[in-house]
Subunit: 475 residues, 2 copies
């Protein structure tokens, strides 16, 4: 705790350093002794558990079940789907020795599991009666990355990957959209991060996918974060892995498959979207501590104030994640800063005066507002304030995004904004123009938003637009 | 589903084959395309999720928090604790290539995480105020095994591993016992598996531990399963990893550490302890489906019986994991066998007669008993029957164990029982006698039970006993 109150670098001075200061000082994560790997500490991991709970509720409600597939994938399986192997093999970590002996075939530490899952599905699926297969896996994956940043891009990360097989193309496409919608709900409703949904352009698709759907969020520095993706894999993997079924009409057919994933990267997005120069700001639904109670006691009345604080804690504990900060070695001011830095949504301060009046002071982390609240019915007030904070963080983030979202006619129109923010405009659909965007501006096509409509000319070449695209520099 | 009703090999004919038949036919697990690896299917994984929930409740209640440490451990860290590396390095899978390049230092896929956790704790702990550190991790681990069996011993498995640091030896020893007691409660209360708690003899200790505590369960074939362990590590790892703190008295001291683990192996124990020749028998608290409702409809009254079954399902659904089996393609008899094979604790059968009488038939999986139950207040009856099944499975398993637990005076006294079961007797404490037991009988010292008392002579050499030991052939 000794380090907690050292300065956090202001966002405006150095956004990257601000991010690292916040996650380390809020005790969410630490660097591991191997380059590119992180340790997720309890305060960060608890947020991951809340995300898992929310995702699982939605997955179960839509008929999905969790399962577990092996960590290690034999090389010959990884090689089966041509585009997939091209996309992933440069990033693979290989196990070559096991039990003291050189292995006859090297084993990939899974970078994603379509191949091993496909091999199993091929065994399990025989008849149309076996379909759909709707499975999800919570696991770790490894992708050898050159530039890493905790939560956002690490060599190992935690995620969930769903893998499904369907009887028809239409059903698989629906699944792809349904799962994207689940991600949207969890990310917007729990994490309070507004997202833009759309299709990836061909150049940005998942290796082996026919279509990749994505959710894109805007971070506090005007850069985009791809925060979850859902892939329609067509019959690419079912052909590569021989996932066939005997249909009702007596004909042997290939299944239609999907996969979809979201990871600890969401926690990085959470920090960057809501954090400020005082540290984290956590939406109540995913805050490990929702309410911190800080007693302010002068000598003489310490015991009675502490008892009063305990009474409040006891009233809230059955419903909320509440922490009474009775550490004797720190001043109230230190504690205020500490809980603000950790992003606790609501702080309740109680002093001798509050005890006398059967009242307390509510301090909101999102606005900094302080109000006096009566002890009678304060539980209802807590409920209402937490809901208000959850809603306001989402509104603030949406306002920030909308004020950093610009329609452009020409690529250079984005220059005056320093390429910070989302830029929308027409695209002719040619790879060449996508390459030009990247080369000249460092931006990429984040997606072709579902809600956009192709209009006017391509912002790059001036030819008629066939697509509406969303551009940004991205993490 | 087509394969479901093929014969399960009787336990008495071939116990190993029985085990494999049951787990495959109940759809819990499948073999992966790499030797020694398994795929945990949803029906098996759901049980793991119930175990996780139960463990987490206990861990949280005792102040532990979940965290996540890296999968890959640099070789130099693994080498730091001499006994530990000697124990684990023969089983390690090594990553030698990452991102297309040979690594300068090879990385172990974690066989357990004391070393990487120790390296981090050394950074995090400075003062006595930082203690205790109480963390747990849910993760996968890899140990290169020669002979494998799903759930019981696989190259990769899922587990939790707790790692704690304490100020005093006494506190760390208490922690070791407290966590063993948590395991005992979850395994006995949720999985309905009775266990014997004790200390491991020196030869059976965890590599690097000062003391290993264990829970030993007796399987249906009279072999023992070590089902969870808790290790007092003394200062071995704190010295190897320099986990020091400045104590209140101003003196720099080494921390006292513990680690404790339980794994998907518990599911193997669950199957072997309760299963019978019809398949699984699952304790209600961890059954993915607690109640199966099977409508028995003749042509003509099909719709009204099905509606009645739906009404019952609707009444139970808010509280229980219930499944209405309305598959038109199967007969009631097929469905009975199917749900029995999957170990569902309670089956509710409803036919036209039951509909008329506003009644139903309860069929218990544990006893096979059938009773008629009135629709009025049947929910209370369900609660009571499920509790009774949970209790009875535990009693049955305890009775089985007690009837296969023998006091012996001489090692050869165990021969008449074919070395099946638990054998207890005196031990002189010498390694030589432990080796003799193993060489002559294939049994090992499972533990020195807390409740046993050294008496009489060593069953091997006849010298005075200094320990009371529990012997068995083990998985």
């Amino acid at each position: 705790m000794e380090n907690v109150l050292k300065e956090i670098t202001p966002k405006s001075v150095d956004y990257s350093q601000w991010y690292v200061d916040v996650i380390k000082k809020a005790d969410m994560v630490d660097y591991a002794p191997i380059k590119g790997f992180m340790v997720i500490k309890p305060y960060g991991y608890r947020i991951w558990e809340f995300i898992q709970d929310a995702m699982n509720r939605h997955f179960w409600a839509t008929g999905h079940e969790n399962a577990y597939f092996p960590l290690l994938i034999p090389e010959h399986l990884l090689l089966r789907e041509a585009e997939h192997v091209e996309g992933f093999s440069p990033e693979v970590a290989w196990v070559t020795i096991g039990g003291g002996e050189e292995l006859s075939e090297r084993l990939a530490v899974r970078p994603t599991s379509e191949t091993i899952v496909g091999a199993m599905y091929s065994k399990w699926i025989q008849s149309y009666r076996d379909l759909p297969v709707l499975m999800n896996q919570w696991s770790n994956v490894v992708r050898w990355e050159k530039a890493t940043r905790p939560f956002l891009r690490t060599t190992e990360f935690l995620w969930q990957e769903g893998h499904t097989v369907h009887r028809t193309r239409q059903e698989a496409e629906q699944e792809t959209h349904q799962q994207l919608e689940i991600y949207r709900r969890v990310i917007e409703e729990e994490l309070a991060i507004p997202v833009i949904a759309g299709r990836k352009s061909a150049g940005e698709r998942f290796a082996g996918a026919v279509e990749t759907l994505t959710l894109e969020a805007l971070m506090g520095d005007g850069r985009a974060l791809q925060i979850a993706t859902s892939h329609f894999l067509g019959q690419n993997f079912s052909r590569a892995f021989d996932i066939q079924f005997l249909d009702e009409d007596g004909v042997q057919k290939y299944g239609w498959t999907t996969s979809w994933g979201s990871s600890t990267r969401m926690i990085g997005g959470l920090i960057m979207v809501h954090g400020d120069d005082k540290g984290l700001r956590l939406p109540p639904r995913v805050a490990p501590v929702q309410i911190a109670i800080v007693p302010i006691a002068r000598s003489g009345d310490g015991a009675s104030v502490l008892n009063y604080a305990r009474e409040l804690e006891g009233a809230l504990k059955p419903i909320y994640r509440v922490r009474l900060d009775d550490r004797p070695e720190y001043t109230p001011g230190y504690k205020y800063n500490d809980w603000e830095m950790r992003g606790v949504p609501l702080r309740i301060e109680v002093g001798p005066h509050d005890l006398k009046n059967r009242a307390m002071v509510f301090a909101r982390r999102d606005t900094g507002d302080k109000t006096t609240v009566s002890r009678d019915g304060f539980e209802r007030e807590v409920a209402s304030v937490l809901e208000s904070i959850q809603a306001r963080l989402f509104e603030q983030a949406t306002e920030y995004r909308e004020s950093h979202r610009h329609m452009i006619e020409k690529l250079r129109d984005a220059e005056e904004y320093g390429y910070r923010g989302f830029f929308e405009g027409g695209w002719c659909g040619q790879d060449g123009c996508a390459d030009t965007v990247k080369a000249e501006t460092g931006m990429t096509i984040r997606c072709l938003p579902f809600e956009g409509q192709a209009r006017g000319a391509c912002v790059v070449c001036g030819q008629p637009a066939t697509e509406h695209m969303l551009l940004a520099r991205a993490y």
